[in-house]
Assembly symmetry: C2
Homo-oligomer: 322 residues x 2
């Protein structure tokens, strides 16, 4: 018998991740193909659709709806990509093309929003109606779910948690054009930069030996050093978590989420990081918010995107019947 599934598609600069997911959120099959960046990415969705259709036939599935997570600046209502620098798209009617290719309804959203949706549906925030997802990677990404819905804002820019202002004067330059954004101090890049600055200033301890050996300091070095009790590394982690705690507490004071989910490479430091973050969070949160808001590490890893994409397809076409 043919089994009905949702297709979850997560488009990144390197790979396109895909999965067949049941309405209950079980991954039946997942795989990925290389992102074909040729000619402004015009073959990406053709190749993804061909792969989905071949796999569907082989596995005896029937796709009923598809969700796509994409990076960049998106008109979610129309599934239209204004620009996605990482994959080469500009002014691209993604939803329209993929609906034609697959013959099923398609919904498109920002990849960070869908990662939040994935964690809400089947991850660390399972069942939460109000969730903040923060990804501490090369940058700081985010997604906000309130009242069970992704918050998009006026022009789809909502969730840009990484660009919350953290340092009022003299902060480092950010890619967004401002200075002192959260991203400049709490991303992997930011933590590495703070680590390098600290060891150049202090000239001692674990980070100094790392710097001598490798000629560079990574965020992982800083986190490993802090875990081992190195003082300089510990101060850097405290500083990063102070800024993150301040930003997340203030967002929580306004949005009252059930849970904050931390993902991305930096979050692999796990409970060591969470303990520090919770301490800073409590300093700045309204007492009841400080008490009630859970902060946990994301559990879905690289699957968050495809699961979130299936979730939004389910929510859009099955639950709301759009």
């Amino acid at each position: 018998m043919v089994q009905k599934v949702l297709a979850g598609i997560d488009v990144g600069g390197t790979t396109v991740k895909m999965a067949f997911i049941s309405e209950e959120g079980t991954i039946h099959d997942k795989w990925e193909i290389t992102t074909n960046q040729k000619e402004d990415g015009r073959y990406i969705m053709q190749e993804a659709a061909a792969s989905l259709k071949a796999r569907q036939e082989k596995m005896n599935f029937k796709i009923v709806a598809a969700g796509v997570g994409a990076p960049g600046f998106i008109d979610v209502e129309n599934g239209y990509i204004y620009e996605a620098v990482n994959v080469g798209w500009k002014s691209y009617a993604l939803k329209e093309e993929l609906e034609e290719l697959l013959g099923v309804p398609v919904v498109v959203d920002n990849d960070a929003n869908l990662a939040a949706g994935g964690e809400k549906w089947k991850g660390a925030g399972e069942g939460a109606s109000n969730l903040l997802a923060v990804t501490l990677g090369t940058g700081v990404g985010g997604g906000i779910i309130a009242g069970g819905e992704i918050i998009h804002g006026q022009s789809g820019m909502a969730g840009e948690i990484g660009h919350i202002a953290s340092i009022k004067e003299g902060g480092a330059r950010c890619n967004c054009g401002k200075k002192g954004c959260l991203e400049t101090v709490a991303s992997a890049t930011g933590i590495a930069r703070l680590g390098l600055e600290a060891v150049q200033r202090e000239q001692q301890g674990f980070l100094q030996s790392v710097l001598k050996e490798n000629g560079a300091v990574t965020a992982k070095d800083v986190l490993d050093g802090a875990k081992k009790g190195d003082e300089v590394a510990g101060q850097v982690v405290n500083e990063a978590m102070e800024h993150l705690g301040f930003a997340l507490a203030n967002l929580s004071n306004s949005l009252n989420p059930d849970i904050i989910v931390l993902g991305g490479g930096v979050s692999r430091a796990g409970s060591f990081l969470l303990d520090k973050l919770r301490l800073e969070f409590k300093k700045y949160a309204i007492p009841k918010i400080a008490e009630d808001t859970k902060i946990n590490i994301a559990t879905l890893g690289n699957d968050a995107g495809v699961i979130g994409a299936a979730w939004i397809a389910k929510q859009t076409f099955i639950e709301k019947g759009a």
Copy 2:
């Protein structure tokens, strides 16, 4: 012919404001009665219902649904008041009682949220789907609308913009139990306090003569002084707007609203205040957010609450057919 109307009810510590409002948002009739605080406020809704029914008959209206804005801590889903200190209610099934009294469906929400809803429906934010409302009065209140819906959060505490942390170290004590909340520096009370501190420190100018004459400094004195070009008063207003701009920019970086609507007594300083706020906002907002986000003064004044109450009744019982 009998005309169908929505009843908008705004319960405060001093008065209960009521209005009959059409589905299009036109106020056909509005009036208020004194809030009867006797016996933990148990007569308040009885008296309001009696007043509504008498007026309905006299004016030949027919109430089809009612919305109630109430202060305090509310279970919005069930229209249940955990506690509303200002009016005496504790563990009170407001929705249930009023539905019985009026014989129409009733929805209850926080008064600050409904003031935001009023401004969104018929005020400064007319037509906006994403709106932040901030009331600069004795305290700093707020309401957040995203994707056309009021954001409530996990336990109905969303929108507490006044308790965003503004001063990390050494801030003034706030009623919420924290120190350095936005409310301690940007409310009328906060501005008056900063004004008094400034004139005691500087001992000069307009505020000093006010202090000598009246033995006190009010927020209005500070704002009037700043408008006249008094240096000390000007610095206080700048300080308050710096904190407000920082908080609102960071919230906007995350929520991407169409518009921020400022209400409350302090906002009567009008464009003088807006100009200063916009300047600070731009410092901390993502460039595109800084460019796109409108900041305006609320236009509905004391009617925002009843209009918002009618709006939520319309949205709940007519548009969604709950």
